[in-house]
Symmetry: C2
Subunit: 150 residues, 2 copies
Amino acid sequence: MILSTKGRYGLKAVFELSLNYGEGPVSLKKISEKYDISENYLEQLFSKLKKNGYIETVRGAQGGYLLAKEPKEITVGMILRTLEGEITTSECLNREVCVRESICATRGIFEKIENSISNVIDNITLADMYEEHKNIIAEEKIKNEQKNLS
Amino acid sequence: MILSTKGRYGLKAVFELSLNYGEGPVSLKKISEKYDISENYLEQLFSKLKKNGYIETVRGAQGGYLLAKEPKEITVGMILRTLEGEITTSECLNREVCVRESICATRGIFEKIENSISNVIDNITLADMYEEHKNIIAEEKIKNEQKNLS
DNA sequence: TTAATGTTGACAAAATTAGTAGGGTATAAT
DNA sequence: ATTATACCCTACTAATTTTGTCAACATTAA
Ligand code: FES
Ligand code: FES
């Protein structure tokens, strides 16, 4: 099991938008080059995100994509659910209650897995990602300085 | 995202074995009929589980499959990992450290998701499932009795 | 105008999933 | 001994999903 590239690529790309939040649109070309992701493929992903109101576009030269809301108002879950579809582990959870429920003991398991995933992705915003990323960068900087000293 | 039928079917089937723990082997035919799962397909799943030492077999008439360990010693994670492969959310987590780590802020997210999934599946045993199932059955019984009274 | 950029819809290769099919082997029951 | 039951194993395949590609078009800044 692995999250598909839709979610993985999409989240990276949206994070890139949040890095540029308040500084005008970012073109797909830049993002696709930075992360080495097919431009046309990213386009499809962003199209969905636009339809769902998470990003906006500016057409024409110097145009591009930008977040439609503040980074702190967009959760990882919003992005992943838009791109991957409902994040679920069993067909029986999201549809009508399974007819076999009474003989099947697995339902509870899958429900727990699902809840724990939701708990993570719905409580991390793009702003949180930014903070964490800043810390990682800072740590790396210190490491590099230590290397240079020795 | 959804767990594949390998994990979903497999877990159901193995749970069925734990229901019969200590009472001799259970044939694939019975399991496949009870849950309406292809017998041949289940066979492939059980074959993997046998190779990994979670179940044993008895060949010949009246034969079948049985758990190789006590239900409390087999976790949901063991079964799911055997059947689904490594439960991961990002390619960058299980292989050599990603070269793009320093520019990519998503790694932390996927790590958290993965850990929370592991936390669930590695801490629920077949014995736990059995307890929970017993409770559900008991609750249903009470409900039915109340229905009959009214 | 022209070059940069987003928009849209169709198409398609590759991989994975979800099985099927069928012959083989072991063993309990008769 | 024979037969029915059941696991064992390998190969094959249909369907679906993933992971893109392609091309024609619309908008706008410079
Ligand atoms: S078969 Fe639907 S809940 Fe288990
Ligand atoms: S690209 Fe590998 S961790 Fe993000």
